[in-house]
């Protein structure tokens, strides 16, 4: 493929894309003019039908709960896939910290400003994450959002300290179990609906008082399970990345500073 042909091919493709793109834009409804009926119907009904004031979470975990189950398993599968790729392989070996050849020169410590700001943020982040998970049916947020917020707490520990601190507060086995319980719990919640003679994932828990933390029936339960799965999944992903980058070495592959 010559350069000239490549350029021509690109220009033709770009022109074709531009035509269809502009055509598509032209047929879109105007900015801020929502045409479909479903959004308006759900906005009007979800507080009455599901006692959930955050319509988005009500849609995600109830009205189209089955789709979200699929999305949850997309995350589950991709974390598993990344873990499989980053696993400790036969010829990897765990390495001790590199030999310090310049003992008189200390590595620059994390700056005090970063550590103070990080440690001050840590507790609010954990509290806010738990709040976001448990209040998914009331205010913006929910399991996925709260889960990623919770998962950022160990990362702040890593930022303020080092990998050793991160290792001390996380557990590979525990995150695996938590992720499995979160993902499996969601699927099992759907199965429990059958016992009550409902359809898969139909709301079977009493809806409670609108505005209450325990309102929304299965929405709150699924939100909590998703929070567990997402938080554990992201931390598990980070553990694998840290291990593969900072701990495992191929034979003959050394840290740069040892021979320098």
């Amino acid at each position: 493929m010559t350069r000239r042909f490549r350029n021509l091919f690109f220009l033709a493709s770009a022109a074709g894309f531009a035509v269809f793109y502009l055509w598509g834009l032209h047929l879109l409804p105007g900015f801020g003019h929502y045409p479909g009926p479903y959004g308006d119907v759900l906005n009007a009904l979800s507080v009455y039908e599901r006692h959930a004031t955050d319509v988005i979470t009500a849609v995600n975990f109830d009205y189209r709960g089955f789709d979200t189950l699929g999305e949850e398993f997309i995350l589950f599968t991709s974390v598993m896939g990344a873990n499989l790729l980053l696993r400790k392989q036969k010829d990897d070996k765990e390495e001790d910290p590199p030999l310090d050849l310049a003992r008189d020169r200390l590595a620059p410590p994390t700056s005090d400003a970063v550590r103070v700001a990080g440690l001050a943020l840590l507790l609010p982040i954990v509290v806010f994450g738990i709040y976001t998970v448990t209040h998914g049916q009331l205010t913006p947020g929910g399991g996925f959002q709260g889960g990623v917020i919770l998962a950022s707490a160990p990362l702040i520990i890593y930022l303020c300290g080092d990998y050793e601190n991160f290792k001390r507060i996380t557990s590979h086995v525990l995150t695996e179990v938590m992720e499995a319980v979160g993902a499996g719990g969601y699927a099992v919640t759907g199965l429990i609906s059958f016992i009550f003679g409902y359809k898969y994932l139909q709301n079977f828990i009493p809806l409670g008082q609108t505005g209450d933390v325990f309102s929304g029936g299965t929405i709150a339960l699924i939100s909590a399970l998703t929070g567990l799965e997402v938080a554990a999944g992201i931390v598990l992903l980070m553990i694998s990345f840290f291990k593969q980058t900072l701990v495992y070495r191929k034979p003959g592959e050394e840290r740069g500073d040892r021979n320098a």
């Binding site: 979470t57 990623v148 592959e253 021979n259």
Partner: protein
């Protein structure tokens, strides 16, 4: 409101372009993180706080960190090759 929406769209376009045109991967990761934060702000201004929450963490922290760790791994590999030669 419209002014804020237009402004944030322009910022996102500039930041996105800057990320694409940055050649050095390390600088690119820093740009990507900032771009992720701007995207979160955009979602918030366009009244999608649910998405903004996850975007702040995923776009500004988790993805840049993953790329950063991969860069470290690649760099150590290159270094050891250089040392062998």
């Amino acid at each position: 409101m419209l002014v804020m929406q237009v402004t944030i769209l322009i910022f996102v376009a500039i930041a996105g372009g800057a990320v694409v045109f940055t050649r050095n991967p390390l600088n690119q990761v820093m740009g990507l993180s900032f771009f992720g934060l701007l995207l979160a702000l955009m979602f918030f201004i366009f009244q999608a706080p649910d998405v903004a929450f996850s975007q702040i963490v995923v776009g500004a922290v988790v993805i840049p960190l993953m790329v950063l760790l991969t860069l470290i791994k690649l760099k150590t590999k290159e270094q050891s090759k250089k040392n062998d030669a």
